[in-house]
Subunit: 474 residues, 2 copies
C-alpha cells in the first residue's frame, strides 16, 4: 500500500500544469540565474542576516513544546502576513487522521497545535512550484540547569546561537523566510507558486506535514532545512514509535517473593528488544544506501515510568521508544513483526511469563522511510545552489543517510514529490546546549534562496529594497 | 549512637512511678483477670463487632494517601473525643526533625499530616502504662481497575473486608479503639494510663511515631496491631530508603552513539545493586533470629522515572527504593556502605563511567531495626491474652521476624520500650485487592482487650453498658 517509489498516479490537489514535464524543462532553462541576479540575492541575504538572527531568537523564545506551538505559530503567521503572503491557519483535521495513509496515530487532541501555510502565487507562472517546509515543534530541554545558557533565552557565543530548537529546526524556518525575502530584495519575483509549510508534530507523529499534504498542498519539489550539516539526505529510516505497558504483581517488601516487579520485567523485555534491534540492523547489508550506516534501527527507549511507591514492588511499568527500518519497508508489517517479537520474548522469559502479555500501543510516527533517487533535477539544482552559496571555497554537495524520521517522508512517500532535506550545521539537537552555527545558517539561507530562484524561475520587478514580499507589482 | 538494646538511662518524659519494678510486679498480680471479667470483655467485643466493621469501613473510605491523612484523622479524633479521651492533634514539628535521632529525612512539609494522640488517665493508677499505636497512612492503590472492588469502597465478601488500608493497618486501628471500648462495656476501667497514637508517615519515614516519642509520649509497653497473621514480631529490619539520580548525555536517535542513556545506566546500576543485596543477605547467618529469613535485605526498587521524550536518549533517570539490614546495625553506617557501593559500582561500569557519579538522596525511613528480647513480661501477658482470645481452639502465640520497617522500632530503639507488633490476618497489603480477615480481626481485638486489661490492670466501675469510655466514675 505504501511505496517509496514516486507515484505515477495523479496526485490529488496537484495542479496538472505543474507536473507537465515539457513546461518543467522550459522553466529550468528560464530559471538559470545571471551572475548579477545571484550576486544580488547573496548580498540581500548578507544584508538581512542580523535581522534573521533576531527573528530566529524570537522563534527560540517561544517554548513550542508539544501542544504549546500556538505562540510561535502566531509569530510565524504575523511575519508571513506582514510580507504579503496568502496565509492560512490550518487546523489538524481529526476526522481525516486514521483515514489517510500519511497520518500516524494521534495521542492528543490538536486544538492548540496547528499549521501555518503561506502561499505566494505569482501572476505569471512559468517555473516549477516549491514547498519550503519547517517544523516549529521542539522536544523537551532536560534539566535547564544542565544548560550553559537557559534553553529558551537564545544566546550568541561567537559563531553559535544556543537554544532549544535553534538547530532543530527554527534556524531552518528562518532560512526559508529570509531566503524568499532576499529574492524580493534583489528585485526579483519567483515565477512559480511557492508555499511555506510551518508545521507542528514533526517530533512525534509527522501529522503536521501529513495534514498539509492531505489537504492537497503539493508542489514539484519540497525542501526542508533540517539540521544536516549542509548535506543532502539521500535516504531516511522508516520509524515506528511504541509504548509498552507491563503489569506485575505488587507486593510489600516483607514478601517480595510473592510479587512480580513490573520494573524488573520491563528491564528483561528491554534487554530482549536489543536482539530485535540487532536483527533489524543486520538487514542493512541488503538495503540500498544503508549498508554502512552504523545503527539504522536505533532502538531508543526514550521514557520509562514505573511503580508508585518507594516501598512496594511496582505494579506497573511503561516505557516508550522508537525503532527504525528501511525505505521500501511497509511500516504496518514492521508493527506486526515488533508485536510478534514482544509476544515471543514475553513467552520465553520466566519473569515475563508471570505477567499478563505486555501491551504495545502505537503512540507516534508509524511511517515508511524514503529515498531521494540520485540524478533528480531537484538535486542538481540544489547542488548548483549549494556551490553558489559556498563559492569560492565550498565543497560539492554531499549526500548521506539519516536514520530517523523526517517530514520529507510524507511528501515523498505519499505524493512522490522530490524531497530535499538540507540545512545548517547544528550540534546537540535533542540534547543539552543545542546550538546552530550562524555562518552555516547564512550559507544555507543563501543556498535556499539560489535554489528557489533557480527552481521556480525569476523575473525582474520593481523593488523598494525592503525585506518584504508585500505589494508585488504584477 | 543508635542501639537496639533497651536503654538503662532515664527516658525523658517517662513518669518515674511507671518504671518502678516493685510496683510493676504488684500490678501484674493485681492485673490478672477473673474468668468473669475475661468473659465479659470477650462478649463485649462480640457485641460491638458489627459496629467495629462499620467504623473500619469508614476508615477505609478515607483515602489517606500521603499528605491526605487529615480526613481520616478528623474521623479518629471525633471518635476518640466522643469516647471521652483527652485528645490532642499533634503537628509534626519541623524544627525537631533532623535533631532527634528518631526522625528520618522528611521530603515534604507536614502541614496536612498530623498525629492524633488520645489519653485515658485514670484517677487510680496501679498498673503499667500502655501505648496502642496504629498508623493511618496508606500506600497508593495501583490501577484501581485491577481491583475486584474499588479500593476505597470497602466491600465485605464472606469473611473478608476489602479495601486499601484494610489490613495495613486500619483494621488494627479499629481493634485498638474497640478493644478499649469492650473493657469499658464490661464494666471495667484500666488502672494505668493508656494512650492511643494514631500516627501518620509510617509508610515512608516513620516520622509520625518519631514525633509522638520525641514529644515525650512514653509508656511501659507499646502494642501495634500491624497485620501479622496473629503472630508476634520477634525482630524487624533496619531500613533505609534511597533515591538515585543518574544524568546521562541526551541525544537524537539519529546519533545514539553520541549519547549515554541515563536509563541504560540506571539498569546497569540496579543490576549491580543486586550484588549488594546478596552481600547483605549473606550476613544473616551471623544475625540472631534472621538466619532462616529468606530475603532480609529485600532490595526493592519501588519507582522509576526516566527520560522526557519518546525519541531522545534519556538525559536523566531516577529510581527510588529501599534496602534492609539487621537489628543492632547503625543505619548511618549502612548509608555509608550503600553510598560507597554505588560509587564503586559506577566507577567499575563502562557505561556508568560516562555519566557523572550517581547522586544518592535519602528520602524516607533511615532507621535501625529492633529485637523484642524473648522472655519479657509484656510478651508473656500478650501470650496469655492471645490464648484467651482463641480459646478453646487456638494455637499458642508464635513469634517471627518481619523484614521491613515498623513504627515499633521507634519506641524500642530510642526509648527502650517493649514493643509488641501483633495484628490480624491480611492479604495483599501494598498490592491489588488488599483484604483483612474479619474473624481474625475479631480475635485480635479480643486479644488486645485482654492484654490491655491484664497489663494495665482493671477495677470495676459503674457501667451504662454503652460502648464508651466517657463519664468514668472515679
Amino acid at each position: 500500500m505504501i511505496s517509496t517509489e514516486p507515484s505515477d498516479a495523479p496526485i490529488p490537489g496537484k495542479a496538472p500544469a505543474l507536473t507537465n514535464s515539457a513546461l518543467q524543462t522550459e522553466t529550468s532553462l528560464r530559471g538559470a540565474l545571471s551572475e548579477t541576479q545571484r550576486n544580488h540575492i547573496l548580498a540581500a541575504v548578507d544584508m538581512a542576516f542580523e535581522s534573521q538572527v533576531s527573528f530566529l531568537s524570537d522563534l527560540i523564545r517561544c517554548a513550542s513544546l508539544r501542544e504549546h506551538e500556538a505562540e510561535v505559530q502566531q509569530l510565524v503567521e504575523a511575519t508571513l502576513l506582514d510580507r504579503g503572503y496568502d496565509v492560512q491557519r490550518q487546523m489538524l483535521d481529526q476526522a481525516l487522521i486514521g483515514k489517510h495513509p500519511a497520518f500516524s496515530p494521534a495521542t492528543i487532541g490538536y486544538e492548540n497545535s496547528w499549521n501555518v501555510i503561506a502561499l505566494h502565487n505569482p501572476a505569471i507562472i512559468q517555473g516549477r512550484s516549491l514547498i519550503l517546509n519547517a517544523h516549529v515543534d521542539i522536544v523537551p530541554t532536560g534539566d535547564p540547569k544542565r544548560w550553559q545558557y537557559p534553553p529558551f533565552e537564545p544566546w550568541r557565543d561567537g559563531e553559535w546561537l544556543y537554544g532549544r530548537g535553534s538547530g532543530d529546526m527554527k534556524a531552518g524556518l528562518s532560512a526559508v523566510i529570509f531566503a524568499l525575502d532576499a529574492i524580493r530584495a534583489a528585485g526579483l519575483e519567483l515565477t512559480a507558486p511557492v508555499q511555506i509549510h510551518s508545521v507542528v508534530e514533526e517530533e512525534i507523529t509527522g501529522n503536521g506535514a501529513a495534514m498539509a499534504l492531505a489537504s492537497g498542498k503539493v508542489a514539484d519539489a519540497v525542501l526542508i532545512p533540517e539540521p544536516t550539516d549542509e548535506k543532502l539526505v539521500r535516504a531516511n529510516s522508516g520509524v515506528i514509535k511504541f509504548a509498552i505497558t507491563i503489569n506485575g504483581t505488587p507486593a510489600h517488601p516483607r514478601e517480595v517473593s510473592g510479587g512480580v516487579s513490573a520494573l524488573d520485567a520491563a528491564i528483561r523485555l528491554i534487554k530482549r528488544l536489543r536482539h530485535l534491534e540487532t536483527r533489524w540492523n543486520e538487514e542493512r547489508t541488503t538495503k540500498p544506501f544503508f549498508d554502512d550506516v552504523d545503527n539504522p534501527a536505533a532502538l531508543t527507549i526514550g521514557t520509562i515510568n514505573g511503580g508508585e511507591w518507594i516501598a512496594s514492588v511496582p505494579s506497573c511499568c511503561r516505557f516508550e521508544g522508537r525503532i527504525g527500518f528501511y525505505p521500501g519497508d511497509n511500516p504496518q508489517e514492521r508493527v506486526k513483526e515488533f508485536e510478534a517479537f514482544v509476544a515471543t520474548a514475553a513467552a520465553g522469559d520466566p519473569l515475563l511469563q508471570r505477567c499478563p502479555l505486555p501491551t504495545v500501543d502505537w503512540v507516534g510516527v508509524l511511517h515508511a522511510g524514503y529515498t531521494l533517487a540520485p540524478g533528480s533535477e531537484a538535486e542538481a539544482v540544489l547542488s548548483e545552489a549549494h556551490a553558489g552559496a559556498n563559492a569560492p571555497d565550498g565543497t560539492p554537495l554531499q549526500a548521506y543517510v539519516m536514520a530517523c524520521y523526517l517530514d520529507a517522508a510524507v511528501y515523498s512517500v505519499h505524493a512522490g514529490i522530490p524531497s530535499l532535506v538540507y540545512g545548517p550545521i547544528a550540534e546537540n539537537i535533542h540534547a543539552i546546549d543545542e546550538r546552530v552555527s550562524l555562518p552555516s545558517l547564512r550559507r544555507v539561507t543563501k543556498a535556499i534562496a539560489l535554489f528557489a530562484a533557480s527552481w521556480c524561475g525569476v523575473r525582474r520587478v520593481e523593488t523598494t529594497h525592503q525585506i518584504s514580499a508585500a505589494g508585488v507589482d504584477t
